[in-house]
């Protein structure tokens, strides 16, 4: 009895196949073309292609997929929570906190690694946690756990941290300033399996919570009053969503930097494909987000090889025009859930 326009089961069959193809195929693509026989053969490997494949490209593709899935799913959750088309995973200041942490690391000029985690990632994650605590605390200051207060607190914290980043850049020398700028563009370079292991649990926890809350996300989409009257513990669900998605986004930003647009546009594309029901939308966002970021990263490391374009630039270059199309040319239904509130 579901609306035919929204019931496209083939999309949810096609997306896993697309994701599998992407995960298996992208490591072969890059500056150096790596033949299948070299990767799985046992013969000589004069160009270290096998090492490049297994130690560099495979973990990088895994990171890209995890980060894309996490950002897209969290963006979808924030758009439902705030009922706002412009909500992104970074709306609540997590990216601002993480960026400030990374900028501080660069400005201090220290260099260390904690087990397999780089110092920049450690600082970025601490910054993300700091922003989460700050936004959470500011929201709790007011009675209840108001979405509007949380949104405004997030925006205020983000702006404040952005100003501090600019101030740090102003105090930095040319090299440090470039390093900070480069980090802010986001990227998946020099990742190893350690980064995959660090990121997987945080994205895993975030996605598990979202999969457990798909009914609640549907109900939040139709408004908080109706959600309460259907039996949703709205403040509790909002708190859980906020904390789980923030840790997930904090982990992604700490490892990859603030990669923009994935978290905003992938949910919109998926909504056009499978409709607004989060029971279909969430898996679609995870798969499409993973595929999208992996393909963007593959393009980032090949279009001007041997140099690399920061993946955040690629996603933004694609995301800007897409968003304009979404605003002016999308088929009816593209932005329906999520009316844009200034």
């Amino acid at each position: 009895m579901m609306s035919p326009a929204r019931n496209r089961p083939w999309v949810l069959v096609l997306l896993p196949l697309l994701a599998a193809g992407c995960l298996l195929g992208c490591p072969f693509v890059g500056m150096e073309r790596i033949p299948f026989a070299v990767v799985f053969g046992s013969g000589p490997d004069p160009g270290n292609l096998r090492t490049i494949f297994w130690q560099i490209r495979v973990p990088r593709v895994c990171i890209g997929f995890l980060a894309g899935a996490g950002l897209a799913a969290c963006g979808m959750a924030f758009q439902a929570l705030f009922r706002n088309a412009l909500a992104t995973p970074f709306t609540l200041g997590v990216a601002g906190g993480a960026s400030l942490g990374a900028a501080l690391y660069v400005r201090l000029g220290v260099s260390f690694a904690l087990l397999t985690v780089s110092g920049a990632s450690v600082f970025a994650f601490l910054g993300a946690l700091g922003s989460i605590c700050l936004v959470y605390g500011l929201t709790r200051l007011r009675r209840g756990f108001s979405t509007a207060t949380m949104l405004l607190a997030g925006i205020a914290v983000n702006l404040f941290f952005s100003s501090l980043i600019l101030f740090l850049q102003y105090l930095s020398d040319f090299t440090q300033s470039f390093q900070i700028l480069r980090w802010l563009m986001g990227g998946l370079e020099t990742m190893g399996y350690g980064s995959v292991l660090n990121l997987a649990p945080m994205v895993g926890v975030g996605l598990a919570v979202l999969f457990a809350l798909t009914h609640e996300l549907n109900l939040l989409t139709i408004g908080e009053d109706l959600a309460v009257s259907r039996g949703v513990d709205v403040p509790g669900v909002k708190r859980t969503l906020f904390l789980a998605t923030s840790v997930c986004v904090g982990g992604v930003v700490a490892v990859c930097g603030p990669i923009g647009f994935v978290g905003m546009m992938v949910p919109h594309i998926c909504r056009l494909l499978v409709g607004g029901n989060h029971r279909r939308l969430l898996p679609a966002c995870c798969l499409f987000g993973g595929v999208f970021l992996t393909l963007c990263d593959t393009a980032a490391r090949t279009v001007i090889a041997p140099a690399e374009v920061p993946v955040g630039v690629i996603t933004s270059v694609l995301g800007g025009p897409f968003f304009v199309w979404l605003l002016v040319g999308a088929p009816a239904g593209g932005l329906r859930i999520v009316r844009a509130r200034p």
Binding site: I222, G223, D225, L226, R230, G333
Partner: protein, 262 residues
């Protein structure tokens, strides 16, 4: 004597210095139909939202089916009480069927899909609300009257025995108003659903309810039968306006007409 469906004792609610509800007390028998009337800003919608815990922090005591509201989890409360807001959201990206299925939320758990029983209950709710033919439509394409039916169906899908309706016929043309009132009367009479409906339509309240509660300035100024409400002194106290009365040509019930303005 059966347990009242709703019992409110000394309910007060304020926002800052503004007192929205002031010591409201009343009782609604199970299976009865209560209309709540009063001028704008009297606290009618706030009262409904307090009964449903959409608004929290009110002083006083609310009992639902003889049990304190505070003892209910939100899910348990949703199984007892359904809420139909005024108009409802416009930008709902779901089909009618999906929207009504959300009414089954209190019966679902995380990671589970609706069962055959849930689908059966949704079909029944759509049928009861006269909205079966709308199931495949996008919610956003519905007219005001159709939306109202779907909102009622979603509340019925909760299996709620008490329905709270906030101005269910506002913005509807006379035919759709009549359809919705007939639907509510049928649910009340045939299915024994207890109804608490906020309305500005005094005649509809007189013709459809068992009891009427009138609020003014957050306080109860009248609680009694619809016939007793149709009294010049009561209505003057309620609205600070004169009304004229006529008899319904079919059942003889007293109805009001406002003063002529020209």
């Amino acid at each position: 004597m059966s347990t009242p469906a709703v019992e409110v004792q000394g309910l007060s609610y304020a926002i800052g210095a503004a007192r929205i509800l002031d010591g409201v007390s009343f009782l609604v028998e199970a299976g009865s139909y209560l209309s709540i009337v009063g001028p704008n800003g009297a606290g009618k919608s706030t009262l409904l939202k307090c009964l449903n815990r959409i608004i929290t922090g009110a002083a006083g005591r609310i009992l639902i089916q003889g049990r304190s509201l505070a003892d209910y989890s939100q899910t348990d409360l949703a199984i007892q009480v359904g809420y139909v807001p005024q108009g409802g959201a416009d930008d709902v990206p779901f089909s009618v069927y999906e929207f009504v299925m959300m009414g089954r939320y209190p019966h679902l758990s995380a990671f589970t899909s609706p069962t055959a029983d849930d689908e059966c209950r949704v079909a029944e709710a759509l049928d009861l609300a006269g909205a079966s033919s709308l199931a495949n439509r996008d919610y956003g394409t519905l007219s005001g009257g159709e939306k109202q039916r779907v909102l009622i169906a979603a509340a019925l899908a909760q299996d709620a025995r008490i329905l709270l309706l906030d101005e269910p016929t506002t913005f509807l043309d006379p035919r759709h108003q009549h359809d919705i009132l007939r639907l509510l009367a049928r649910l009340n009479r045939d299915s024994g659903v207890t109804i608490l409906a906020v309305t500005h339509d005094l005649n509809a309240a007189a013709l459809s309810s068992d009891r009427v509660l009138a609020l003014r300035g957050g306080a109860v100024v009248f609680h009694g039968s619809p016939c007793a409400l149709m009294d010049a002194a009561v209505l003057r106290r309620l609205y600070e306006q004169e009304f004229h009365f006529v008899s319904h040509p079919v059942n003889g019930c007293s109805l009001v007409v406002p003063e002529a303005v020209r």
